[in-house]
């Protein structure tokens, strides 16, 4: 099928009105030598029902989490309940099929939603400004580092090994272009062991970190201030339900992966890069920023603002190249978080923490299962297993569990286990029982 409305008669009419007699003539500017003979090497178009059939096949070849694969995996992608309102509101076609709000008069819907989203991100993170989203946690971290380097004029960047390894990999990929010098800072019993001296432009820490441990953000902030660096904190928005905000502990830039609010697991995307900072850095803010203003009649209105930072105006001198971002995911984040509300956010974090504690105790009671780190955790924890973690994950899948994420060698090949508010006591008990079996 195709979605071109034109009938043959209409096409002929239109061509005739321009003095043309075939569609091919429209492409006269394309040199003959470049013309693709025989058309695209793709199968012919399928009917809607046939496409659905193909997608049924793909879906059937996956093993999604759910009743028959109970999820204990996290590592930045969490299996939370998503309330029905998210799908019904954020995915209304007015939001889905709009472009970036270039014409604010007919885009107040998206603009106001983003303004509210920015407000919520700032409230979570204890910051003054937040942008209207970046691609994901990794890209938000890259942009934060870019901001810090630009603000300090120093290219050395201290990166805690507690930062998600994929994000560190993306930082490394991008550093080839920017020339930043990344310094890997190791963990000690789950917490970053910072050097005491040096001249970094940015200090990057994640809390809770990749092992689930709560870092001493305040101390990192003091270190940054002492060394003249900016502190970049990566955090999990769910932790805002219980933990002090990075902003209140001295973070200059706060980033995060927004997935826990409104995004399904979806093999890792689309998720949502959260980005917020102190007001003094607003002119280096990457991406879009919505501000409140008024219209000609003085009515409250919203518009993207400080546009001169952006690539379409500043071009090679722009603070970032971001154009398309993850707006729709930001709207979903807004809806999910608003539905949770003040008390619900706390309750959510609390329930994750309770499940984590219960599960951790159950697992550590198993012979040969040992804690990987002693530092306190919130919603995720790492253990050493007598059998290699990837083998554990494979065997546990047979038992109906996605047991967690097998950590690489740099984390002692442990198993990272996450427990969300979805996990029942019965599931955790069964999980521990199965684990006991497979590690024997």
């Amino acid at each position: 099928m195709h979605f071109v409305p034109h009938t043959d008669a209409e096409i002929a009419d239109m061509l005739a009105s321009m003095g043309l007699s075939s569609l091919d003539e429209l492409f006269d500017a394309v040199p003959a030598a470049l013309r693709l003979a025989g058309g695209l090497d793709l199968e012919p178009g399928l009917a809607e029902a046939d496409v659905a059939g193909r997608f049924d096949d793909y879906a059937a070849a996956n093993r999604p989490v759910g009743r028959s694969l109970v999820c204990f995996a996290g590592a930045g992608a969490y299996d939370h309940d998503i309330p029905s309102v998210v799908g019904r509101l954020a995915y209304r076609s007015e939001f889905v099929t709009a472009y970036t709000p270039y014409q604010p008069e007919v885009a107040q819907g998206v603009l106001q939603a983003l303004f509210e989203y920015q407000t919520l991100v700032c409230r979570l993170f204890g910051t003054d400004v937040a942008n209207a989203s970046l691609y994901d946690g990794a890209s938000a971290t890259v942009e934060a580092v870019n901001l810090a380097v630009a603000a300090t004029g120093r290219q050395e960047v201290w990166v805690s090994r507690g930062l998600h390894p994929h994000w560190r990999q993306v930082l490394a990929t991008m550093a080839v272009g920017t020339g930043h010098q990344l310094v890997d800072v190791a963990l000690d019993d789950g917490l970053t062991n910072w050097p005491v001296d040096g001249a970094p432009g940015a200090i990057v820490v994640q809390s809770p970190n990749h092992l689930g441990c709560l870092e001493d953000v305040g101390a990192a902030g003091e270190l940054a201030r002492r060394l003249g660096a900016l502190l970049v904190v990566a955090t999990d928005p769910v932790s805002a339900g219980l933990l002090k905000s990075p902003g209140s502990l001295g973070a200059d830039v706060v980033v995060g992966e927004g997935q826990p609010f409104g995004a399904s697991l979806s093999l890792g995307g689309p998720y949502l890069g959260l980005f917020a900072c102190r007001r003094e850095h607003v002119r280096r803010l990457p991406g879009r920023l919505v501000g409140e203003t008024v219209d000609t009649e003085g009515r409250r209105a919203y518009v993207t603002t400080l546009r001169t930072r952006e690539q379409d105006i500043r071009r090679e001198k722009a603070s970032s190249n971001v154009c398309t971002n993850q707006t729709l995911m930001a709207v979903a984040f807004l809806v999910h978080l608003s539905w949770l509300g003040t008390s619900g956010l706390r309750e959510l974090a609390l329930r994750c923490a309770r499940g984590t504690r219960y599960c951790r105790e159950a697992l550590l009671a198993i012979d040969g299962v040992e804690p990987l780190a002693g530092a306190p955790v919130l919603r995720e924890f790492a253990v050493r297993t007598p059998v290699p973690a990837d083998v554990v994950v494979a065997r546990m899948a047979e038992e109906g569990f996605l047991a967690g994420v097998a950590l690489g060698e740099e984390y002692d090949a442990g198993l990272l286990v996450a427990v969300t508010e979805k996990r029942t006591k019965a599931e955790i008990d069964a999980f521990a029982g199965a684990l006991e079996k497979v590690v024997r």
Binding site: G45, A52, T100, T173, L267, P270, T305, Q326, G344
Partner: protein, 503 residues
């Protein structure tokens, strides 16, 4: 009565009025709760028993306290203050606001796709890996390339990926220090120069000639062995096909540079010609333009990057690959530049694009370009004589008109034309881009608008051209808000609800 805004009043008066919609925060009332949680049986430890006091926040983070009913009404009313493709024509040049087929929404709304954890072992994600591999193969056939990465989540991310590939390629030849410039035409999109900078290169601008294409002499003058490559879109941002592309490719390759194809305009040439055939080495595609992934008010999109054989070993990893025995594995390319996304890219957006490609097939995609180009040219003909058309020759999927004649005659500017279009029930064209055209109106009707809609568009644009400057300045008069004070927004920055009192 507690102090809170008017909860359920349709204050945005969706069907009728122009009152503002209160914010979430005004709808909030202390103690109101919408959320609820499943029964788990997990012991109910107190927060203090779980989190060391040093980490525990004193007061809950204030979000909003709103009923589910008010949340639903709030967001629904906001949606009624938002124009979208589903409401009407959206001829926003370069952005390709075509119809986003509903079958694609449904195709990806499967638990078997949505509920797959990105860190699950490959044995549990074979369906996804098959899908991604199938998509990659199709994108390579469409662009005439050898391999692709699906990781980049948008066009700009694809650009940067491409530039890092360029860098790695030259680096392997020991030339990364010498090759420090990337050429970009003056008509290029802003992401191109910004990406070049982030890639660690310098931008060298190449002027356009009076036909709107790359000036070959100027290009030659800028080519040297310090050039890493050139970024082009073809058709370019004027909607014109760079007819000398083979010569350009020869010249750039001649000095050892690579050609990067900005695929934002790929929708003009589907099945007609391929970047690979033109000589490009690296191609990004905006799946949210050419392949109908909806723009979502600004994203998410997807910006896969395809490359020729000689660049394929540099692609980001891990990549899904068919193992040959019917299974799929994650593979790290030999000389990979590394990861550029937290996981595997905007997977659901990729899946959507694949459903669109499957539905269209090779024949349907060609039809897309045929009709897109037909529509643009027909509309261009209709506006001739009414608007300036600086490069008035056969265009591809879009063309750039100019309000310079109107501005001179009566003071009506491109901005006014845009705002008047909103009153007429259409979205406005892109304005003031590309930068090389004064009072630019960049119009891309797309292939999914019918001849009848085009005629209505043409009529509206012609009528508007007859307006006085006063009429133009007063527009839009019928939208949820009137013309917005952008200067004030920047001057008195109010980036959050909580910053209002400072403002």
């Amino acid at each position: 009565m507690t102090a809170a805004g008017p909860g359920g009043k349709a204050t945005s008066a969706p069907l009728m009025g122009r009152d503002p919609e209160p914010t979430l925060f005004e709808l909030s009332s202390p103690g109101r709760v919408a959320s609820n949680f499943r029964t788990t049986g997990v012991p109910e430890w107190a927060a203090e028993e779980l989190v060391p006091a040093a980490h525990l926040r004193e007061a809950p983070a204030p979000i909003a306290e709103i009923s589910e009913r008010d949340l639903v009404a709030h967001m629904t009313r906001l949606s009624h203050r938002q124009f979208s493709v589903d409401l009407g024509a959206y001829p926003l040049g370069s952005c390709t606001m075509k119809y986003n087929p509903k079958l694609c929404d449904d195709a990806v709304a499967r638990a078997g796709l949505a509920d797959v954890h990105p860190a699950a072992p490959a044995s549990l994600t074979q369906g996804w890996m098959a899908l991604l591999t199938d998509l990659e193969s199709a994108l390579c056939r469409i662009t005439g390339m050898a391999a692709a990465t699906l990781q980049p989540p948008a066009g700009a991310a694809g650009e940067l990926t491409g530039l890092l590939l360029m860098r790695a390629f030259h680096g392997a030849a020991g030339e990364d220090r010498r090759r420090r410039r990337v050429l970009i035409p003056d008509s290029a999109h802003g992401t191109n120069p910004a990406s070049v900078t982030l890639g660690g290169y310098e931008v060298t601008q190449v002027p356009s000639d009076d036909r709107g294409c790359v000036d070959l002499d100027a290009l030659a003058a800028r080519l040297d062995d310090d050039v890493a490559g050139i970024m082009l879109t073809n058709p370019n941002t004027l909607g014109l096909f760079e007819e000398d592309i083979v010569a350009i490719a020869g010249a750039v390759h001649g000095v050892g540079g690579l050609l990067y194809y900005d695929g934002a305009n790929l929708n003009a040439i589907l099945g007609v010609t391929r970047p690979g055939d033109m000589g490009f080495d690296i191609v990004h595609m905006n799946l949210h333009k050419t392949f109908a992934v909806p723009h979502g008010g600004g994203g998410p999109g997807a910006g896969p990057v395809a490359v020729t054989e000689r660049l394929s070993s540099y692609l980001p990893g891990p990549r899904p690959e068919a193992a040959g025995d019917g299974t799929y594995a994650w593979v790290e390319p030999e000389r990979s530049i590394g990861r550029i996304h937290s996981w595997h890219g905007n997977a659901l957006a990729l899946a959507r694009a694949w459903s669109y490609i499957l539905a269209n097939g090779g024949d349907g995609l060609r039809r897309v370009s045929d009709a897109a180009v037909l529509n643009a040219n027909w509309l261009r003909h209709q506006l001739r004589g009414t608007y300036d058309i600086p490069y008035d020759r056969p265009c591809m999927h879009e063309f750039v008109a100019s309000a310079t004649n109107l501005k001179r005659a009566g003071g009506l500017r491109a901005l006014d034309v845009a705002k008047r279009m909103l009153e007429e029930g259409f979205h406005a064209p892109t304005t003031y881009f590309p930068l090389i055209v004064e009072e630019a109106l960049m119009i891309e009707p797309t292939e999914t608008e019918s001849p009848q809609t085009l005629a209505a568009l043409a009529q509206a644009l012609r009528e508007i051209a007859g307006d006085t400057a006063e009429e133009g300045h007063a527009a839009p008069r019928t939208s949820p808000v009137g013309r917005v004070d952008e200067a004030r927004a920047a001057r008195r920055l109010v980036p959050t609800w909580d910053a209002r009192s400072d403002a």
